[in-house]
Structures are given as structure tokens and as C-alpha cells.
């Protein structure tokens, strides 16, 4: 198998919680929010790898770590075999950022309202010193806009973001990510703020760019339906850990982890016959805080299959349940 584009190994990010002066004097141990707590995965060329989970599960923090917007507490990130966590100097980080780009959730706040579309797209070129003359840069900008189907580009370059619709803005944001010809794109909830019809349009565009230009994505989302549609692989996160990972269709059609099953049971589907049936949700309680992570399997307090003396004591490891399908559960295959 070919070398993965992105390889993440045992990645951890702990955010310290401020102790008061009194706490420090009393010698209370420092406490941490364990946002990402030992995550490993690989993404191969031209693949879409989805990180799925509820708010607070650590999916966005993982994305930010990959972007080097945050420094990991522990663990390694390799881009095309090169250790990214070792990059220290400004130049090295700048060169890295050129190869890894990000698309944000909210196209209304991710574009500078005072910039024209031209400026939005020229900024990355200027920062990275691409295109020596204005004409060269203009050509790149027009090409990027055509790629995301903002056509004809000359009609749009002079506009400000507020003059575009939500879908058009998100396409400009995608063009801004693509203009540097990155190896890898982190897309953090790129369609969750958009209307259904526009959502489909943006997903289609991202899919087409993957097929035509070989873009590789880390797709961060809470929406399992779009993950199934867009992603090749899905990793389900819960409280900072990947609890299940595998090919998108396998994870969705044959989920093994009780948490994945609960999530899937909760997804609304456009099937009106079920309107009078109260849905069974095989899960208890609410997500605990990432400060006080439960001992043993961190899902055990909510798990309906929990086995006393095992799940609440020993921490399970992510193991290969069947070819390419990984599950972190003591009871995998038995429930």
C-alpha cells in the first residue's frame, strides 16, 4: 500500500484549567480538559477521511492540530512521511501551511468583509510569494474561481463578500484553499451552515475537486448522512478518542460500537411512516465533561451493554475487528 498523505499517531491535546491562587497554594494537582486523548489514523491520497462526533468530542481540535493551529501535548503528525510536530521555524511552518489548507464552517465570517473577492484570493498568493506579476496572479485567481464555478470570474472579482449568496461565499472560501494547490484540505463542517439545496451543491463541488484534482480531505462533521455520501472512511469520535473507524459504508451499515449504533439510531431520515413511533435510542444520560473522563471505557456510563468489572475498570484499545474496520470496545462482536 502506498505511503499515506497524512499519518496521525497517538495524538493528544490537553488544555490546562486555571487553578485559583488558593488551589495552587493548597497544592491541588493541575487539571486538564482532555480534548484529544490518543488519536491515530491515516489518510491516503485522494481520499476523504471523515471525523464524526457530537460537539465536544475533539474532532475540531484534531483538525486544528493537523493544521498546526495548536501544538499537541503528545503524539506525532506526519505529512507525506515528514514529521510535522518537529517544524519549529517560521519558514518551515509557512511552507507547511501552503500544503495544508482549511475550509471553515461559516462562510459569513471566514471572508474579510472589507476585501473584494480578488483580494481574498490574492492574499495567500502574496503571503507565499506566488506569481511575480499582477497578471500572473490574476490568471491564478481566475483559474481558481473557474474551478469552483464562480463564472465568469471577471463579474465577481470586484465584489465584496456581502454581495454573494451563502453558497457562493463558501465556493470562494474553497477557491482560497485551492489556489495554493495544497496536498491536503481540512474541511471543518463546511456545509452545516448552508441550506439543503446549497449543501448538496457544495458537497458535489468538493467531490468533483477530489476526483479531478486529486484533493485529499479531512472532513470534520456531526452529520453522518453527508459523511456517508462524501467520505471514503469514517472515524467516530467520543470524548477525545476514536471509538470506531472503517470504510464509510461499513461503519454506517454494520456499526459495531454501541455509541456508533446510538448515533445512527438518532439520525433523522426523510421517512414519514415512522412519525408516530417513538424512536428507541440505545444510550443513557448525557456526554460527561472532558475534565472528568470516566475510568475504563469512557463510554461505559452511557452504554446499555456495559459489563460490570470489565468496562468500568479496564480501558479497551482500538483493535481491528475485521479487515480495515477498527473498534474500541470490550464487547465488539458479542453484542
Amino acid at each position: 500500500m502506498a505511503e499515506p498523505i497524512l499519518k496521525v499517531e497517538n495524538l493528544k491535546k490537553y488544555f490546562p484549567i486555571k487553578r485559583g491562587l488558593l488551589g495552587a497554594l493548597r497544592g491541588e494537582p493541575p487539571r486538564f480538559v482532555r480534548a484529544v486523548d490518543g488519536v491515530s489514523f491515516e489518510v491516503h491520497k485522494q481520499e476523504v477521511f471523515a471525523l464524526v462526533g457530537e460537539s465536544g468530542c475533539g474532532k475540531t481540535t484534531t483538525g486544528k492540530l493537523v493544521m498546526k493551529l495548536l501544538e499537541p501535548t503528545d503524539g506525532k503528525i506526519y505529512l507525506e512521511g515528514k514529521d510535522v510536530t518537529e517544524l519549529r521555524t517560521q519558514e518551515e511552518i509557512k511552507a507547511y501551511r501552503r500544503r495544508v489548507q482549511m475550509i471553515f464552517q461559516d462562510p459569513f465570517s471566514s471572508l474579510n468583509p472589507r476585501f473584494r473577492i480578488y483580494d481574498v484570493l490574492e492574499e495567500p498568493l502574496l503571503i507565499h510569494g506566488i506569481g511575480e506579476t499582477r497578471a500572473e496572479r490574476e490568471e491564478l485567481i481566475y483559474k481558481a474561481l473557474e474551478m469552483v464555478k464562480i463564472v465568469p470570474p471577471e463579474d465577481y472579482v470586484g465584489r465584496h463578500p456581502h454581495m454573494l449568496s451563502g453558497g457562493q461565499r463558501q465556493r470562494v472560501a474553497i477557491a482560497r484553499a485551492l489556489i495554493l494547490n495544497p496536498t491536503f484540505i481540512v474541511a471543518d463542517e463546511p456545509v452545516s451552515m448552508l441550506d439543503v439545496s446549497i449543501r448538496a451543491e457544495i458537497l458535489e463541488l468538493m467531490k468533483e475537486l477530489k476526483e479531478k484534482m486529486g484533493v485529499t480531505y479531512l472532513y470534520i462533521t456531526h452529520d453522518l448522512s453527508t459523511a456517508r455520501y462524501f467520505a471514503d472512511y469514517i472515524a467516530v469520535m467520543y470524548l477525545g478518542r476514536i471509538v470506531e473507524m472503517g470504510p464509510a459504508k461499513v461503519v454506517i451499515d454494520n456499526p459495531i460500537h454501541p455509541y456508533t449504533r446510538a448515533l445512527l439510531a438518532a439520525v433523522p431520515e426523510p421517512i414519514p411512516e415512522r412519525r408516530n413511533i417513538i424512536k428507541e435510542l440505545p444510550i443513557r444520560g448525557e456526554v460527561p465533561s472532558a475534565v472528568n473522563i470516566p475510568p475504563g471505557c469512557r463510554f461505559h456510563p452511557r452504554c446499555i451493554y456495559m459489563e460490570k468489572g470489565l468496562c468500568d475498570v479496564k480501558h479497551p484499545q482500538l483493535v481491528e475487528y475485521e479487515h480495515n474496520h477498527w473498534v474500541e470496545c470490550w464487547l465488539a462482536g458479542k453484542i
Binding site: 458537497l203 451499515d253 439510531a265 433523522p268 431520515e269 414519514p272 412519525r275 417513538i278
Partner: protein
């Protein structure tokens, strides 16, 4: 046959802005029966939330009701003076769960304090009696009655949403309008809230208008569905018919744009262009500039809602 609790006829609510008149709700008619859930869907800006506020008799300024009628339990509310609306209609006859209402709870008052306010104001109850009632309603929505003594920051998002639902029900209104009641909630909590609303519908015989842009959520609860586009209802009917035999091209496209969880979809459809400006809506059928089947007549004349099947109406010249 269940009685009609809400009857809306030719309702018009326009926003009078400095740039012109925005026809946000334009000639909308429908009925809601006792114990029925009507789902109201459409893209952002189609007027669905504006319609919700109008039914409460409180269009957001600069909005004004320009014409039409809204009858709640047979009583006309369009044209009633504000003090009558406030005393006799709002919250008593019709109440609303606002979008993001869980963030509208006042952080410095206890949950109980906020829940008993309508009881004291509308029913003239004593504090003790009102608190008892609040506790009963908290139990009804699956919360511990002790929550009356808690502050909003002590509750999770899902619990706050339950409090908001309990508050909307506490005066036993005929009609409840739920405007995006599950947006911003995580998927498991969202499913729990939908379950709760189904339970309330069954146990209390609640009549509800459920507003959302998400047709998947809508299918989970609606008996009937109305699709809005550019201030108008363009298709309405039994939800089975809307989901399986959508008649209007707009409805068809919206449904084809939803990725399915357990089906392989090769290509999602999307609707090119964007919803029209409601200051100067397109001539004829308002959907014609985005419609793949637009004909000459669509540009010139506006189609009326017409019955194409039992309890299934659509406004399209193709039919």
C-alpha cells in the same frame, strides 16, 4: 373528524423597509386540526419563521399584517388590539418555541421563576400554586421537578430546550408553534427532543406547527407538510404524499438534495441560483427562474394551489 383549531386565510405580512416592501408572507392559507402536526419547510428567507411570528400576532417590525385572516379556535385575531392579544391570545391560545430559545433563558433567575411568570400574569395564580404547576410540567417533559430551583447555566442544552417546551405548554394553548426547536442540538439530544414532542402530541393531543429547513427532521413528526417558497405555500398535503409523490418541481428538488443514510446516492441534486428578492419577486410563478421545466405561462401568470389528489395541493402550471 377532528375540529379545526387554526384557520389561516389569504394571510399577508409585509416588511416595510427603507428599500421597499418585502412580501415575506404572501397569500398564505391553510388549516390545522386538533392533534395534528403540520410541518412547514423551505430554504432560509422563504418566510417560514415570519409566518410563525405572524400567527402569534407579533410580526417583527417593520413587518405588518396587510390582509387576510387568522382564526384560532374560531376567533379572529387579525386586527385585535395589542392588549387583548397579550391578555387573551398569546401564550393562552397560541404559543411558540422560538429558535434558539434555550439561550434566551435569563441567567440570573431560577428556572421556576421564569416558568411561573405567565401563570401569575395570565391566571392570577399564587406563587406556590404556580410553582406546583411548573413542577408538573417539568415532569411532563422528562425533567426532575427540582429543576425549578436551578439556574440555566446548571442545565445542559437538551435540558434547557425541555424547559422552554414546558414553558410554552404551561398555559395549555390550543396551538404550539415550534420554530427550529432542535437546531443547535447534537443529534442524540435532537432525537430525544423529537421523541418528547411525539409523546406530548399523543398524550396531550397537541396541535403543532413545526418549522424547520430540515426535511428529514420534519418527516419524523409531521402528519401534514407545507413547503414554502418566496413567501408562498407552493405545496401542501399529507406527509406521505409530499415525501413519496412530490408534485411541485421545487419539492422534488429539495427531496433529491438530501443525502440518505442507508442508500447509495450517485449524485445529489441541487437547485441552481438562489431564492428571489422578495421586494421585487419574479413575475408569474416565483420559482420559474430556477425551475428546469419553466414554460411561457410560468413567466406570465401565477399558478394557484390546486387539488391534485385527496389532501394534496400544489401550485404549478405543469399539473
Amino acid at each position: 373528524m377532528a375540529r379545526t383549531v387554526l384557520e389561516v386565510k389569504d394571510l399577508k405580512m409585509y416588511y416595510f423597509t427603507s428599500r421597499g416592501v418585502v412580501r415575506a408572507v404572501d397569500n398564505v392559507s391553510f388549516e390545522l386540526k386538533k392533534g395534528e402536526v403540520l410541518g412547514l419547510a423551505g430554504e432560509s428567507g422563504c418566510g417560514k419563521s415570519s409566518l410563525g411570528f405572524t400567527l402569534m400576532g407579533m410580526p417583527t417590525p417593520p413587518g405588518k399584517i396587510v390582509g387576510g385572516s387568522v382564526k384560532i379556535d374560531g376567533r379572529e385575531i387579525v386586527g385585535l388590539p395589542e392588549d387583548v392579544l397579550r391578555r387573551e391570545i398569546r401564550w393562552q391560545k397560541i404559543s411558540m418555541i422560538f429558535q434558539g430559545a434555550m439561550n434566551a433563558l435569563n441567567p440570573v433567575y431560577t428556572i421556576g421563576y421564569q416558568m411561573i411568570e405567565p401563570l401569575i400574569y395570565h391566571k392570577g395564580m399564587e406563587k406556590e400554586e404556580a410553582l406546583d404547576r411548573a413542577m408538573k410540567y417539568l415532569e411532563l417533559v422528562g425533567l426532575s421537578p427540582e429543576i425549578v430551583y436551578r439556574y440555566p447555566h446548571e442545565l445542559s442544552g437538551g435540558m434547557k430546550q425541555r424547559v422552554v417546551i414546558a414553558t410554552a405548554l404551561i398555559l395549555e394553548p390550543e396551538v404550539v408553534i415550534a420554530d427550529e426547536p432542535t437546531t443547535a442540538l447534537d443529534v442524540v439530544v435532537q432525537a430525544q427532543i423529537i421523541n418528547l414532542m411525539k409523546k406530548l402530541k399523543k398524550e396531550l393531543g397537541l396541535s403543532m406547527i413545526f418549522i424547520t429547513h430540515d426535511l428529514s427532521i420534519l418527516a419524523e413528526i409531521s402528519d401534514r407538510v407545507a413547503i414554502m417558497y418566496a413567501g408562498k405555500i407552493i405545496e401542501i398535503g399529507d406527509s406521505q404524499k409530499i415525501y413519496y409523490e412530490p408534485a411541485h418541481p421545487y419539492t422534488q428538488k429539495l427531496l433529491a438534495a438530501i443525502p440518505r443514510l442507508h442508500e447509495d446516492v450517485d449524485k445529489l441534486e441541487f437547485i441552481p441560483g438562489q431564492p428571489p428578492n422578495l421586494i421585487k419577486p419574479p413575475s408569474g410563478c416565483r420559482f420559474h427562474p430556477r425551475c428546469p421545466y419553466a414554460m411561457q405561462v410560468c413567466r406570465e401568470q401565477e399558478p394557484e394551489l390546486k387539488e391534485i389528489d385527496k389532501d394534496h395541493y400544489a401550485a404549478c402550471w405543469l399539473l
